[in-house]
Amino acid sequence: MVASIKFVSKEEGLKYLRERLGESGKDLLQGFDGDNNPLNDSFTVEVKEPRDVADAAAAIEALNNGQFPKPIYKVSYGKGTVETMFKVTEIIRNVGLVLVLLLAITAIFLIANTIKLTIINRRREISIMKLVGATNSFIRWPFFIEGALLGLLGSIIPAGALLYGYWALLHTSQLDLSLMLIKLLPFSSVSYTLAGLLLGLGIVIGVWGSLLSVRKYLRV
């Protein structure tokens, strides 16, 4: 359940706080050195799955049981916020899934229609190809390539927008999420998988769209 545990002494905590607050915190934190340090020693516990955070917190809290004075002063993990966030992400995920499905179906039909127009446009050429003995696969593959390219093209743009958006979000100074105990995943760990998935999905949608039209309008 737990991924890592890091000890942060109160001196380190103060140093970290100074760094976070920068210029504006200089006056605020003046004189809080040595014995005047108001912070406690702390442990930063990182869990593997975000969903486990509440359980982990409860387990840690339980270490206090039967002991006096309490060795652990406070367990803080953004209680309430985390639960709300899970609910919100779940709703977003479900709505997103439905949207993705609807858009994918729309995209398939749009591409199918484009391929249909290409087939009709090249009808003469295709009939001559059949006449002189071109195989079905020879006649068909250019349409699959076209569909795949359309799908790829259609996914490059949103993939780019999405990656740029995420990158921008990570680099906003206004929204310092790290202060809220919740960390966003680093850019490199999301970008490749996400871009790959999007482009792959685009190609699949493109080929699927072509398949619909090729089967319907390219009777060989």
């Binding site: 003469r124 001559i128 002189v132 003995g133 071109a134 079905n136 020879f138 006649i139 060989v220």
Partner: protein, 228 residues
């Protein structure tokens, strides 16, 4: 070479185009198919290159039973059949050379072979000098010669010509006939549907007349036999 056994064709709209056709065409034959418009000539021609399929009966071309043939084998049968139409059916955006080469490209012939063979057939149809021209820059007779070049470029054993002189003036038509005769002499079997009385009566080849979906006549060294 070509055989039909009791072939019937009824279209989806109920039209009975062919009603019990049986013929045999031997290798090297030159056959004219004549008959009034709408008598079933076109259907008869289309059955031979499997553009249409019979409602009943068996058709053999080059030893293949077209009705028992697997779908994916059809292209290979068509490679041995050259088809020529009244309206040439050339690709307008391709040059003469490219139009002929197209027939070899789609069956994946090596590039070097294509170049050599295309120039060879263009020489045969006397269009070597026009290799770089577009079809629109050519006369009707020249366009039909390009179509013939395309039909023979893969060395088919059978040539199916559906009114190849239908759009041409008499003099040009004779040029096309000379060419087809030469191709026939080189060994190809030719089946040609025509309305050209003069050509049929002068050439005196085998004549098959189709009327009302049946064979009305089948004569060696036959005549056209109609007054139109």
């Amino acid at each position: 070479m070509i055989e039909m056994h009791d072939v019937w064709k009824t279209y989806a709209d109920g039209t009975e185009a062919l009603r019990g056709i049986s013929i045999k065409v031997n290798p090297g034959d030159f056959v004219y198919v004549v008959g009034p418009s709408g008598a079933g000539k076109s259907t008869f021609m289309k059955l031979m290159y499997r553009e249409e399929r019979p409602t009943k009966g068996q058709i053999f071309v080059n030893g293949f039973n077209l009705e028992r043939l697997k779908q994916r084998k059809i292209p290979y049968v068509r490679r041995n059949i050259g088809v020529i139409f009244q309206d040439y059916r050339l690709l307008p955006k391709l040059t003469v050379f490219e139009n002929v080469a197209f027939a070899m490209e789609v069956i994946e012939t090596p590039k070097r072979t294509i170049k050599r063979r295309v120039m060879e057939v263009l020489d045969l149809v006397k269009l070597k000098e026009k290799a770089g021209s577009l079809p629109t820059q050519l006369s009707g007779g020249e366009q039909q010669r390009v179509a013939i070049a395309r039909a023979i470029v893969n060395n088919p054993a059978v040539i199916i010509a559906d009114e190849p002189t239908g759009n041409l003036d008499p003099e040009t038509s004779w040029g096309i006939m000379k060419l087809l005769e030469e191709i026939n002499l080189r060994g190809a079997t030719i089946v040609m549907a025509t309305h050209n009385k003069e050509i049929v009566n002068t050439m005196r080849k085998r004549v098959i007349a189709i009327e009302n979906g049946r064979i009305a006549r089948d004569e060696q060294r036959g005549e056209y036999g109609y007054e139109d």
